[in-house]
Symmetry: C4
Subunit: 236 residues, 4 copies
């Protein structure tokens, strides 16, 4: 299939991705260079991502790096974020996503470091994530020593295999931190903000009641389906 | 009894409710659209509530939705908040309240998720809430599958049956989050701010001393009655 | 002994006390009206204190209330803070203090609610408080039912009897919250800020190592005496 | 070897150190005067450090104190920070560092008070610190009673003896708080910010999973070497 590169569309995506990266700072999910957002133009199969090592207060749309799905740089004067191969893996496997976010936000990272999935303890959680937020297994020494960043993407995909990536728009990578995704970069950032807040609420919940378990599935259904899918009644 | 609709009074209430919703943001009780405030005009039996799904930074008084106590929309171009039936239930049963607030504020929601009432551990608590802040039982699958939002209101009313809703101006809905009320929307927001702070203090208190129990009832009396009721000595 | 009222000095004290009350807000120790600062003019034995129930954003120097040490109002159009008798008790007993602060700051209040003294776990603590920060016993039902606010002052004084109020410039009132003092209102506020931070650090310390005990007394001496007393080497 | 004093270079260093001290406030690592930053001019062996007891909002470059490595004051109208002998000890022993920072930042200080090293629970940690962040043993009564501030430096140096101070750019002094260093003052401040965030994440991690252990060494290698050393691929 012939893919068409449209300069205006790419320009718009670079602006959107720059803005989404800055949104991570505004929402206090990152300090220094601890996060990155990308977006994809599905018609041209081009991914736009934050450059590596540039501080957020210097970030401009023209610094964004444009790559194809194999990781070849199409445009850009900077190196792409070192996590780029992870983003690409997710775009290749999750066909309906348009944006990916990685951060080291405090609470979500603490759960990832604790290597513990976040069970669904309330309706705030089930408004966004259907059932638990999974945590990947650890990478093996071979996966770490090999193509580490791609293997990080692969362990995410493997962990999501029995789940629906639309209703579970994020995951914890063990020992590392959260990745989220969405229909575009803006929604992926929104999901990162939500995941961080859910992680904070969950850490408080298990401290207040150490025997707490997940909410009933019928309540998850009610809240998730009230906001998502063709029978959604939420919003206008 | 004939109820009189007074356009100026409704207009004023819409401004007040819009402002009270924005106060939730200023007090850091909500992110995105995670909360809603309503108020009632008791002379006309009209409820004014936040529209559904509109972000706080776009909220304007003219977007507020006006309903009667049965939930019929009297005025407004937006859908009312999806939690509206819960608010209506509270207005029908608690005759002397003028405002209702629902949020997913972090600490109060954590207690609701932990399904644990907040015992009265100090005078900050008893300055506002007489005795414990209750937590509802979980809704049954039938209540969730049926008229869920109204049933949320009904479980609140049922849990409050043996309590005085004036001296206990808020509750935790199990698995969900806090609801508060007051003589008007402004006071209901004030009570939400206080509840969040009490929830935070209580979570710290039980971590510092896991064997802590409630304060003496005579101390609750002293503080609650110093600020409330006909013998109040507090303020001017 | 004849005490002399000096209008200019009282005016200056009212400005200082108003400013010190607003400092509580700036340092995030209080919300709404949850705190109060007073100061004393020792030459005239006049106490200046925050009015009761006035929100901080409306506070002006001319609203401050002037009382003698028996609690008679000498000047002012507002009622004094309801905690005034506690402040007066401290001024009568601790002859060298010039300012008193009461807040419901989150972490210090949590320790007061937990009815647990704050042991000295580090040099930050011993830079300001020599040895533990005490927690009073609970008031008896008789003390609560009687002259409650004065009795709160008395239990503080009783608990401090075997301690030096200069090197222990604050205390936790069980079930209630912290009181601090200092050579003037400004220093008393400074001590409230420090106490809150020490309370936060201590709650984290005992969570990280539940078997932790106080630091060596020789280290307390080193830090406390480096900053205080006639052999202090700290500052200019 | 003859050391050359270059007035312009010293002036520039004073500006840099003043700015680095103010950065501690901006990053919320210090309140009041609870921290200090220094830098060294290795060509002249001159150390520039914050004056003692001056509040941050009054700090100006011309107030910085210039000393030689033995602690003799070369220039300045203020006393140097009381922690100066600790800084000097580090400059004498760690030949390749250019800046030192000491703070009482909340979470790092809590770990120091808990007398517990921070194990490496994730890649955020290993991006900056290779393996654990050590905690010194307590000083002996003799070390405290003697040349306390120099002995604080010596216990740091002793604890670092079997470690590489380049890949472990910071430490917890038991009962006291963190010290960090770097190639210049700016990097040392950066490392203090990172250490505080790692300390917060670690305290949450051990609360979420009390049995958590360090990450695999191969993963530490991957992340640390991706950002540091001659084979670094991170940034531009």
């Amino acid at each position: 299939m012939l893919k068409v590169l449209d300069e205006k569309r790419v320009q718009k995506l670079k602006e959107e991705i720059c803005e989404a990266n800055l949104e991570l700072v505004a929402k206090k999910l990152v300090i220094y260079t601890w996060g990155n957002v990308s977006g994809i133009d599905r018609e041209a199969d081009l991914v736009v991502i934050k450059p590596s090592g540039v501080p957020y207060d210097k970030l401009k749309p023209e610094m964004m790096v444009v790559l194809d799905l194999e990781g070849n740089i199409i445009e850009g004067n900077y190196n792409p974020s070192s996590d780029t191969p992870t983003h690409l893996e997710l775009y290749r496997e999750f066909e309906n996503i348009g944006g990916v976010v990685h951060t080291h936000s405090t609470y979500a990272t603490a759960w990832a470091q604790a290597k513990r999935k976040i069970d669904c303890y309330g309706t705030t959680h089930s408004d966004y994530f259907y059932n638990e937020i999974p945590c990947t297994p650890e990478l093996t020494p071979e996966e770490i020593g090999g193509d580490y960043e791609s293997n990080t993407g692969r362990v995410i995909v493997r962990t999501m295999r029995d789940k629906d990536y639309i209703s579970v728009p994020g995951i914890l990578v063990a020992n590392h931190g959260p990745f989220t995704w969405g229909k575009d970069a803006h929604e992926a950032v929104h999901n990162s903000v939500v995941l961080e807040e859910l992680a904070k609420m969950a850490s408080l919940t298990i401290a207040i009641n150490k025997d707490i378990t997940q909410i009933q599935e019928v309540l998850m259904d009610k809240h998730y389906l009230r906001k998502h899918g063709k029978n959604a009644t939420y919003g206008q």
